[in-house]
Structures are given as C-alpha cells and as structure tokens.
C-alpha cells in the first residue's frame, strides 16, 4: 500500500546532521555579507546580478554538502486482534426477568463462532480471565457478585497487542467508574454491545444499613436505613427490624416512587453481646425482585453502664484518685460513701454544724446491694458501722455473680477485722486471724509474678514487650498489707520487690462462685499516677491499671479469655472469610496451645451447615479461612472441643446483598459514552450489531524503507561545478574576484 506524507521521514547525511548544517549555513551567510561589501563600485544591475549568482552558488554548495535524504516506507495492511469482553456478573442472570441477558450473550457468542475473524475472548466478574475460545462462553455461570468493568478494561488495555480493538458485551452496570480518559490516551478503540432492557422492573429494595460500631445496653442508639422504591408500588412500605433476643419492631413508611429515602431508627438493646439482626421489607406482589428486601447485620452491644459502689473507711490520696478516675469514666455509674469521722473523733460541734450523714449501712448492703455490679472496699474495716450483719449478704452476692475488690490500708484484710468472717471465705488469700499492724516497707517496687507476665492485668503496655520492665519503671510504693497465702485456685499477678519485703503478693484474683474477686494489698497505687508521671513524663499508669482491673471484674467483652472474630464480618456473597481466635484459660489467661478445635458453621436457626477442623498454635491462636453459603443472612461459627471454658463460644458472619441485586438496572448510556470517547461503535442490542469482522482491527506493517538522496548523484556535482565556473567567469568580466 502507498505511504502517505505522514509516513515519510527526512534527514541529512552530513555528520552532525542539523547542527553541522546550521554551522555551515552561518559560514556561508558570513561569506555572503562579505561579498556585499566588495561589489560597491559596480553599477546596480550587474552588482545585483553578481550578488544573486553568489547567493545561488553558496546555496547549491550548502545543499550538496549537507546531502538531504528522504526515507519513504513501503507499507502493507495486516488484520489486528479483536479482544471480546463478556460480562459474567450476576446482574446478567438475575432470575426469569433478567436471564434473557445471559441467554442472548451465549447465543451471539455461539453465532460468532462461525465467523472466521480471529478473536481473543475474556470474561470478567470478580476478576478478568481469558477464555479458551468462544465456545467457553457456554460455560459462564453469571454469578460474580459485582461488575468491575472499569478495572477489567484497564487490565485488558495493558496487555493488548498493538492495533487491537476491544468489544464489550455487557449490561453496563459497572461497579467502578469507566476509565474513559485512560482508554482515550491509549488510543485503544472500545466497541460496545448493550444487553438487557433499559428500564428496571417494579422493585423495593433496602440499599444500605448503618449501625454504630458499638451500642450499650439500655442506651438508645440510631440505626440508619436507606430504601428505594421503583415502579408502581404505592408509596407506603412496611419495614421490620428483628434482633435476636428482642421483640420485633415494625414501622410503616412513605417512600416516593423512583426515589430513595434514608431514615433513622431509634433502638434500645436489652442484652449485651453480638446480636444478629435484620431489616426486612414486608412482601409485596408488585415487587418483582424480593431478593433485595432483606439486610442482615450484627450489632455489638456493650454491657450496661457499670454500677459501682465505692466505700472507704477514711479519706486518702488513693481514694481521691480512684474516685476521680471512676467519676470520669462515662461507662460507670458511681455511688460512693466514705467514713469521714469515727465515733471517737471529736469534732467539737453538734451534728447540725456538720455536713456529715450517717453511713447508710443498711440501705447499701440490704436494700440496694443487688443493684451494684461491683463493690470496692477501700481501706474499709468492719468496725466503723454495724457491718457484721451484712458480711454474709456480701459473700452471697459475690457468689451469685457480683464482683468485689478489697484495697489495702490499715482498715483492710486482717487489720480490718475480716479474718474468720464470711467475707474471708471468698477473698482470694487467707487472712490471718489477727495481724498486729501493716508492714511499712520503704520504697518497694512491684513486679509481675513469674507466670503472669502476659496476663492482661499485668501486661498493661504490650508495645514495650517487657511487662517486668514496665512495672519496674513505675514509682515505688511505701505501704503493703501482709496477706496470707493465696488460696488454691487463685492467681497471684503482682508481687512486691524490695529489700525488706520481697515476693509478697500484691494483686491476687480468683473466681468465687459465679463472681470475681480481687485483693490489692496496697492503697498506694495512686503513686503510679502522680509520681510515675512526674518521673517519666508518661502515661496514665494509674488509670490504665484500674481500667483493666475493672474490666476484668465486670467481665467486659474486651477482656474475655477467648476472643473470636470473623474477618470481614459483613460482606457480599462469594467473599472469602477468615475465622481468627485466641483461646486462653480462665483466670490465668494461659494460651490453650495445640488444641484441636471443631468449628460448626450454623444458620440463624442453629442448624449445622458445615463442620471445620482447626488446631491452635503455641499462642492459642487460630486462623481459619472458610467460605459462607451464598444465601443472604447471618451465620454463626461455634467452637467446640478446645476446652470447657470456650465450649460454644461463637462469632457471627453476615452475607449481605451484593451490588448486583441492589441496583438491577443496566447502564447502556455509559457504554455508549465509552465507545464514543475512544473511537469505537455502540449498539444498543446484539441484533443491531454487525459481524465480528466489521469490528476487526487492522494494522499497517512496514515491509521496507526506500532511501532517496537526490543530491548525491554525480550530475549534481557537475551542475554545481558548471554554475561555479559561470559565476567566476561573470565576476572576472566585471572585474570582481
């Protein structure tokens, strides 16, 4: 085929090409200017003639020296590849109404097989994949949960050979933006054939549900729901919320046809934990696509505000910092009573001049005891008030599930008169019958018990990687209650480390019936706040310690021995999930290492759908990939077999509706825009599309290139020579050199 002017190229044979030519030109111009000065004495006409001749001679000489070359390619046209991209997503076959899209696609692929045009077929759904040939289109399942057409086109463009064309066969419902500009820059034409009707059927859909990351029992939270109604459905829809363990709630709402509506749903959980929930639209005969009428999700509900009773036998700095910490915690409801005066103290006034009230022993420990989740006895002895009558009650309260921490001081433990009392039965340490006095130990430090370095109540700064160093770095304490031996079944977490008193238990915890108890043998933990912060400039160590202790005592979910989660918890169908767990023993939190675990995958009704086997590692960790069924809904993963403490622990995983069944409508206009922008052609139905060959690409190939160098011919040199002689002769004639 003939080359065009655009195909021809031009250069110079002179070494240095254009630079050399420019320098030569400058030289000749200088010579010419010199020439102009020399002819001044001649009459104008001959002078002009000689100047012109000299200019022509110099120009000819310059051309002969630079030797221009003309390169003319000889071309031929070759056929280019046609890459055909078939949409394999679920929107192509969403049930009887939409299955025609898939059928049409398969039919045309089959018809194209008879054409001779060579094609490179691909399918895209969750990712782009090449097909062995057009016959492989028969095997497409149309189940991909989304239509990432944009990323598929980009990937195809990167691997397309030169001269290729792309043909997209799709409904156009792309999950990501189409890279029109990138494709235009790559000069890669994209043709498109749209499938499916442009309009969407009557449909009601829940498009999205948003919930707070964490809710709290008895506190109202707001859930956000977005709905859409299309087609003649009427404007009233009935929306229902179901959450496990709670009564169903329904509301009737008005949603304008063709519009979306967002609403807030106020809801108050009554139970803590992970709750599977679901929003659902009431069925309607006009709803042609009910699969998008449900949206399952999981709510994480924290326990109600912790109700704490703090009683103290005397004001102290430790009490002051503890009370301030408890009051600042938004998740704590605090009731505190301190004994500010003992009966033997001499105030010098009548009761009317005091702001004191009688210690409400009976009210607190008879009437209201059960209302509290946690009791803190801070340097609170038996004797300030007639408390003996209530010791049994407190013991039984703890055994039924309440929590108690006794904080040291001169009025605590044996010094407080608790030896041989009902309270001594539940404390985690033995109490001597009578201790004469606390031991004052100057500047003792705290160290973790040997086996407790990784316990969450000890390892308060895991980023340091050394719990012992953390505790060594805290300010020393000065007072320590000498406790008896830790009881069987209790766990010693912290000990003293000092010259006078080393290895004595400082923090001991235990289970007492259904409740939890802790003994803290000092009322100087406040020094970990003020003094430590002053020394190191760092950190709320006091607050961190008490926060952890309270969470353990109150069984906060974040400190449960076994932690189980699914990643991701909420995803559309087909997405791979992972079950991650860390399993530990109760109380001492030692890992349940190398344990065989059975994982039951169950539906909401508790039916087991699948059984998986796994084994924990040395840290008690589990990481198990798995797949969920495609049906939308919530599924439980329940653990069995590792240890009685984790038996039936579970996490939830939710399959939410995919984008394909939320949007339904195709987007042929986007395909049309894509084709127009890239120089391709668009057809709104396969019936209107031409044969494949008409989409076929072609490309030109250079067979060979011819070089033309007109001034290299000997005649050119001869012509130059003759012209030079002519010019010289005329100069001599007019007396010029």
């Amino acid at each position: 085929m003939n080359a065009t002017a655009a195909d021809t190229s031009f250069d110079l044979a002179l070494p240095g090409a254009w630079l050399s030519a420019a320098l030569l030109l400058l030289l000749f111009v200088a010579l010419f200017l010199r020439e102009l000065r020399q002819g001044a004495a001649l009459p104008p006409r001959p002078r002009f003639g000689l100047i012109l001749l000299r200019a022509l001679l110099l120009a000819m000489l310059w051309l002969v020296l630079v030797q221009p070359r003309i390169w003319v390619p000889e071309l031929r046209r070759l056929p280019g590849p046609l890459m055909v991209l078939f949409d394999d997503s679920a929107s192509m076959a969403l049930g009887p109404l939409y299955s025609e899209r898939a059928a049409k696609l398969k039919a045309y692929a089959a018809a194209w097989q008879s054409e001779t045009q060579e094609v490179m077929p691909f399918a895209f759904g969750t990712h782009l994949r090449p097909l062995s040939g057009l016959e492989a289109v028969r095997g497409l399942s149309f189940r991909a949960p989304s239509t990432p057409l944009g990323s598929a086109l980009l990937e195809l463009a990167q691997q397309s050979p030169k001269g290729a064309r792309i043909l997209v066969v799709s409904d156009g419902a792309s999950a990501d933006p189409l890279p029109i500009e990138a494709l235009r820059r790559s000069a890669l034409p994209v043709h498109a054939i749209a499938l499916g009707p442009r309009s969407t059927p009557s449909d009601r859909a829940i498009l999205e549900v948003e919930a707070p990351a964490q809710l709290r029992v008895d506190e109202e939270s707001r859930l956000r729901v977005r709905l859409r109604v299309r087609g003649r459905q009427g404007s009233s829809v009935n929306l229902r919320l179901r959450c496990q363990g709670h009564a169903d709630e329904s509301r009737s709402l008005r949603v304008e046809e063709g519009k979306e509506r967002s609403l807030e749903w106020a809801w108050t959980p009554k139970r803590s934990g992970a709750l599977p929930c679901e929003f659902a639209l009431a069925p309607s005969s006009r709803d042609r696509w009910p699969q998008n009428d449900r949206w399952p999700f999981v709510l994480h509900v924290a326990p109600a505000r912790l109700r704490v009773l703090l009683v103290s036998g005397r004001p102290s700095w430790d009490l002051r910092y503890l009370r301030a910490f408890l009051k600042e915690e938004p998740a704590i409801d605090l009731v505190s009573f301190f004994v500010l005066r003992h009966s033997t103290d001499s105030t010098g006034v009548t009761q009317d001049e005091l702001s004191l009230i009688p210690f409400p022993t009976d009210e607190l420990f008879r009437e209201h005891l059960e209302r509290f989740d946690l009791l803190i006895f801070h340097d609170f002895g038996r004797f300030p008030a007639p408390f003996d009558a209530h010791l049994e009650r407190v013991r039984d309260y703890v055994r039924r599930g309440g929590s108690l921490v006794m904080v040291g001081g001169e009025l605590s433990f044996a010094e407080g008169g608790y030896g041989s009392t009902p309270l001594a039965e539940i404390l985690p340490v033995a109490l001597e019958t009578r201790a004469s006095e606390n031991v004052w130990v100057e500047d003792y430090r705290v160290t973790p018990h040997a086996a407790a370095a990784t316990h969450p109540l000890v390892d308060l700064a895991p980023e340091l990687g050394d719990a012992a160093a953390y505790w060594r770095g805290l300010a020393p304490l000065r007072r320590l209650n000498h406790l008896g031996a830790p009881k069987k079944g209790s766990v010693t977490l912290l000990e003293s480390a000092g010259k006078g008193s080393s290895g004595r238990p400082l923090l001991v915890i235990a289970q007492a019936g259904k409740g939890r108890v802790a003994a803290l043998a000092t009322d100087e933990s406040w020094r970990w706040g003020m003094a430590s912060a002053a020394e190191s400039g760092e950190g709320p160590n006091f607050a961190r310690f008490w926060d952890r202790l309270l969470r353990w005592l109150s069984r906060h979910p974040s400190l449960e021995e076994s932690q189980i989660e699914v990643d991701p918890e909420l995803a559309p169908p087909g997405q791979r999930r992972r079950l991650r767990a860390q399993l530990r023993r109760p109380l001492d939190y030692r890992p349940l290492a190398a344990r065989e675990v059975e994982v039951l995958l169950q539906d909401l009704e508790g039916r087991t759908l699948r059984r998986l086997q796994a084994r924990t590692d040395a840290e008690g960790r589990l990481d198990l990939p798995f797949e969920l069924p495609e049906a939308v809904g919530a599924y439980a993963l329940r653990l069995r077999g590792a240890d009685p403490s984790v038996e039936n622990s579970r996490a939830w995983a939710v399959v939410r509706p995919s984008e394909e069944i939320l949007r339904l409508e195709g987007k042929p206009k986007s395909l049309a825009r894509l084709a127009a922008a890239t120089g391709g052609r668009f057809f709104e139905a396969p019936s209107k599309a031409p044969k494949l060959a008409d989409f076929a690409a072609s490309r030109r190939e250079v067979v060979r290139t011819r070089l033309h160098q007109p001034l290299s011919h000997p005649l050119a040199f001869l012509a130059l020579l003759l012209f030079a002689l002519l010019e010289w002769g005329l100069r001599r004639r007019f007396g010029q050199r």
Binding site: P315, R323, L340, R341, T344, V349, D352, S355, G381, F383
Partner: protein
C-alpha cells in the same frame, strides 16, 4: 489506726476491770502491805488510762496525708514552726484522716513534691520571682492533681502582690477567682458560712480552677496563724477578730480545706445533697442575724 485504738481500749478495759476486782479482794486498809499494794495498783491503773492517749499519740506519728510546706529558699525558716503539725493534729482529732505529724518543706522544683498531692504555703512577706524551674514544677504539680493551699494575713500586701504576680506568670489562662459560698469547700466537712482565720475578713476565698476543681486556694485570713501554738500548747497569736469562736472557725476551715483536697466534690454528689441542704437551712436559722 481506728481499729487499733478500739482494740487498745478493749484490752485496757479488761485489764482495768481485772485490776479493780483484784484490788477489791486485797487485805483491808490499815496494813502497810495493803497500802503499798493499793498505791501500786492505783499507779498501775493510772498508767493504763495513759495508754489510751499514748496509743493514740503513736497513731499520730504515722499517716499518709502529709501537710507538706512550701519553701522558697534552702534553709528558709518557717513563720510558725509546728503549725502544720498542729493542723495535722486537728485533722486527727476531728476526722478519720490519717494525717502525719511530720512532713517536709519543699521547693517547687524539688522532685519530692510529687510524693504527695498537698502543699501548704504560709506567706507573710514579699518575695522574689520564682525561677523557671520552680514555675514549671508548680505547674506540673497542679496538672498531675496536686492541691496548693496558700495562707496569708489580710495585711500582707507585699506577699499578696508577689503571689499574684507569680500565679499570673505560672497560670496565665487561669486567673484567681473568688469562690462562691456554695463551693464544696464550705461544706466538705463542717458547714461554714464564710472564711475565717485570725482575720475575719475577707470572708471569701480565692482559687484557681483547673478542670473543674479548685487546685490552688488562697486564704487571706491567716488561718494557720490562728491555729499556731507555743511550746506550752497555748495559742501563739491573739485573734484580730472573732475571738475564740473565730479560732474554732479557723480550725474548721483548715479541716474543710484538707478534706476538700482529699475528697474534692464528693460532698456534692447528688445522693448527699438533700441531707446537706436540710442541714444548711437549719444552720442559717441558728446563726442568722
């Protein structure tokens, strides 16, 4: 300690009863041996009674609430030595607070100020600017929860000027403000109508509030001086106003201030409020004009 005190009392009571019973069984009066025995028993009996205050005195040696003083220079002497011990004594006598008898005096740039959240500064004269390290130490002390009670006579204008200058420098965005009569300090233990020291005026206290608490309280009534005692245990200084009743009110204010430092707004907790309001209404009728 409270429990120990009760136990000592119980033990001594038993000894006293046994001693009295034995004494009753002794030979009749007249015999020299009987007289000697009775005399010895009486002395013994008296000593037992002494155990009670002695035991209590021993308790007072220890305690975790130290009334630590403020020194502006090394070796600087206190205006009233023993004053802080007297405040501790009043606390021990009147409340359940375990106040220590002895406590050091510290500069603001001494690291030991973080060993306890209470500092008492009795000032009388103008003073030079605090160094930057002292100012830093004071700010840090307050930021970490410390409480500073500044006490001076109403006529100490030099100290007042110096103090206000330094507080402005150390806490430029927290000015001294007059405390309302309803502030917790006035009902943290005793129900008080106003501030009282050797001077009955001003009747108010000033404070620097930090994060909702009065972190620095300035009393210009010379409260501490009203409590100071000489070696014989007699009041060191006469009251300018109020007489002995005023001295008693000064002691009450000192107790309230330390109780506030320990309990902050505990008394304002809702559950206590009805009881306190009822008492305050009663108190007003009693002490009204």
């Amino acid at each position: 300690m409270r429990d120990g005190f009760v136990q000592v009392m119980a033990d001594n009571s038993r000894r006293v009863v046994r001693a009295a019973a034995w004494r009753a069984s002794l030979p009749a009066q007249g015999s020299a041996r009987g007289k000697a025995l009775r005399g010895g028993l009486s002395a013994w009996f008296a000593s037992l009674l002494l155990c009670i205050p002695l035991a209590r005195a021993q308790e007072m040696e220890r305690g975790d609430v130290e009334i630590r003083g403020v020194a502006l220079a090394e070796g600087e002497s206190e205006s009233y030595p023993g004053l802080r011990a007297r405040i501790a004594w009043e606390l021990r006598k009147r409340t359940s607070i375990a106040a220590a008898k002895e406590a050091p005096r510290l500069r603001f740039d001494d690291r030991r100020i973080f060993d306890g959240p209470l500092l008492y500064w009795n000032g009388r004269h103008a003073f030079a600017s605090l160094s930057e390290s002292e100012r830093r130490g004071l700010r840090r002390f307050i930021a970490l929860g410390g409480f500073l009670w500044i006490d001076a006579p109403s006529g100490a204008e030099g100290f007042d000027r110096s103090l206000r200058r330094e507080l402005r420098r150390a806490f430029p965005s927290h000015p001294l403000q007059t405390l309302d009569r309803k502030h917790t300090i006035f009902h943290s233990f005793y129900l008080l109508e106003h501030a009282q020291g050797r001077d009955a005026s001003p009747k108010t206290l000033e404070a620097i509030q930090v994060e909702g608490r009065a972190a620095i309280v300035y009393s210009r009534n010379d409260v501490g001086a009203a409590l100071a005692r000489d070696a014989a245990g007699q009041p060191l200084l006469p009251m300018v106003e109020g007489g002995e009743r005023g001295r008693e009110l000064a002691a009450r204010l000192a107790v309230n201030l330390v109780m506030y430092a320990l309990c902050l707004d505990y008394k304002d907790d809702q559950v206590h409020l009805p009881f306190i309001l009822k008492r305050l209404r009663g108190a007003s009728r009693k002490y009204g004009p």
